[in-house]
């Protein structure tokens, strides 16, 4: 390799790096599906494809939107794991060219570590499927069990503002109430973000 060629590569990387400091930014890596092909096909067997999009709170409204989300959620977002520039991945599910639903996940702080809660929703924002992609809990199998996750099927964001509805969902664990509450918070946050980013679907 010639010295000038090598110098050009170094210069290229340096310029790319320095230029990028002034660009609009994504920060931490959000919650993406480990295997979207398998998960999407399982939940939407009639689908023919999906389109991935990354959205941040910062680009859709910045601090003002963040405050709106926190008010709806009833607590502040964690600056380390739920930063304003965390990219949230949305998988728009297609049957041909027609949009038939969405799949989206969030990171949520749990009792023993992080959890990743994935929701599949129809275009009205109702939950079609729910599963934990990651769950650090000794009682993980109880949370992952369909007897628990199926209780959320058919629910939408309004249900998470209804105390009577939420009372019908029982904690499946014996000693992990904190993870149960984290699950409710995570699902609610996920639905709030869906409503804000994709609320136009309902119109």
């Amino acid at each position: 390799m010639t010295k000038s060629y090598f110098s050009s590569i170094i210069l290229g990387i340096s310029v790319l790096f320095l230029l990028s400091f002034s660009s609009a930014s994504f920060a931490a890596v959000g919650c993406t599906l480990n295997d979207p092909d398998r998960d999407v096909k399982r939940i939407f067997p009639e689908s023919t494809g999906y389109r991935t999009e990354f959205i941040t709170i910062e680009e859709r409204g910045g601090e003002k939107l963040q405050k709106e989300i926190e008010e709806k959620l009833g607590e502040e977002l964690d600056p380390i794991y739920e930063g304003i520039d965390t990219p949230y991945a949305y998988y728009t599910i297609l049957k041909g060219k027609e949009v038939i639903g969405r799949v989206h996940g969030i990171n949520q702080k749990g009792m023993y570590g992080g959890m990743q809660i994935i929701l599949a929703t129809d275009l009205e924002g109702k939950i079609i499927d729910l599963y934990y992609q990651k769950l650090w809990s000794p009682e993980g199998p109880k949370f992952r069990n369909e007897d628990f996750t199926e209780k959320f099927i058919g629910m939408d964001l309004d249900d998470f503002f209804n105390e009577d509805t939420l009372k019908t969902i029982e904690d499946p664990s014996e000693d992990s109430a904190e993870d149960f509450n984290a699950t409710l918070r995570g699902i609610k946050k996920n639905l709030i973000l869906l409503d804000i980013f994709w609320g136009g679907d309902k119109k």
């Binding site: 990028s20 999906y50 599963y131």
Partner: protein, 335 residues
């Protein structure tokens, strides 16, 4: 060289084509490593990391029928504190691949990426001080070539045919590397995989792509392997393990790794790590192993910065002097 240029050019051409480039994540990276080693004394590198700046450009291309292509270009400009100033600077190309979607569950990958063997393709060790067996086992973590990736109802599989040259492309002594791994879904608490490897791999020193890292021999090593790997999450613990057995030319080799990571429940940005790994270069001859015990702490300072420290003790290093070292790392990653 022409092939590397071609792959990178293709990635850039797609990246620049705004008609398709709908979604992009561009991250920048700063990695500062330093510490003290009995052998090297003050050092600015670990076994796989050097002081560096870099970037990652990850893109999804889609049309009205959905995603059809993913690209990733990840590179570092590195400084090796243990080399002379004229040889200290290098460019490492880590990821440089395109993945074309053939259909649901079928993807064709082209470029520079993980061989399909062991724990390495299931983990992200790009920035971590603790590493898997890949460097001892294969000799590198990434290689140039093509792969078919797929997923079945319960299992994922990947079959790769690569050049056997690692970070740089070389065609010497007919080198190539065939690897395949079938593993359980990465969403499960207990993940496991079975891997096979066969090929003629080149032995190199260093991680640099430009200029090419050093070729230690003109003769490729005939490698045959089978391996098992597993990860298990329980509460705040993550257990990782892998074992690989096979031959390097006519010598029987065996390697194994055990690691336990513990996340502090009350301070989940802190993780304690303990790892033991051993690579036996000839199982029929004593003292031919490379065995190291490492203990580390990882502290996520904020959304973009992680601080790590590591203490490592070599019980034996085949043909080299055992080393004790302590390392510190500042790692910044954001767009």
């Amino acid at each position: 060289m022409k092939i590397i240029g071609f792959v990178i050019a293709i990635v850039f051409i797609f990246s620049a084509n705004l008609a398709f480039a709908e979604q992009a994540l561009f991250y920048k990276e700063v990695n500062i490593v330093g510490g003290y080693s009995d052998v090297d004394e003050w050092t600015g590198k670990s076994n796989s990391l050097m002081n560096s700046i870099g970037f990652e450009d990850y893109r999804k291309f889609s049309n009205e029928y959905g995603d059809f292509l993913t690209t990733d270009l990840q590179a570092r400009l590195t400084y090796d504190s243990l080399e002379d100033s004229q040889d200290a600077v290098g460019v490492e190309i880590h990821n440089a691949w395109l993945q074309y979607k053939l259909g649901y569950g079928y993807n064709l990958k082209l470029g520079h990426f993980d061989p399909a063997f062991g724990l390495e393709p299931a983990l992200d060790t790009h920035a971590t001080l603790l590493q898997t067996l890949a460097m001892k086992n294969i000799g590198f973590k990434k290689d140039w070539g093509v792969a078919l990736k797929g997923s079945m109802e319960k299992f994922d599989y990947k079959v790769a045919l690569q050049t056997g040259s690692g970070m740089s492309i070389r065609r010497t002594d007919g080198s190539y590397l065939f690897t395949t791994r079938i593993g359980s879904s990465t969403s499960e608490d207990f993940q496991h995989g079975l891997s096979f490897l066969y090929g003629e791999a080149l032995k190199t020193k260093g991680m640099s792509t430009f200029p090419k890292n050093h070729l230690l021999s003109d003769e490729a090593v005939t490698k045959k392997r089978m391996g098992l790997d597993a990860q298990y999450v329980y509460g705040s613990y993550l257990f990782k393990s892998e074992v690989a057995y096979g031959q390097d030319n006519d010598e029987d080799v065996l390697g194994y790794l055990f690691e336990t990571d513990y996340t502090l429940p009350g301070h989940q940005n802190v993780q304690l790590e303990l790892q033991f790994q051993s690579w036996i270069n000839d199982i029929h001859t004593s003292d031919t192993d490379d065995s190291t015990l490492s203990a580390g702490i990882s502290y996520k300072l904020n959304e973009n910065v992680t601080l790590r420290t590591l203490v490592a003790h070599d019980f034996n290093l085949y043909g080299e002097k055992e080393d004790d070292k302590v390392l510190f790392q500042f790692y910044y990653f954001r767009n």
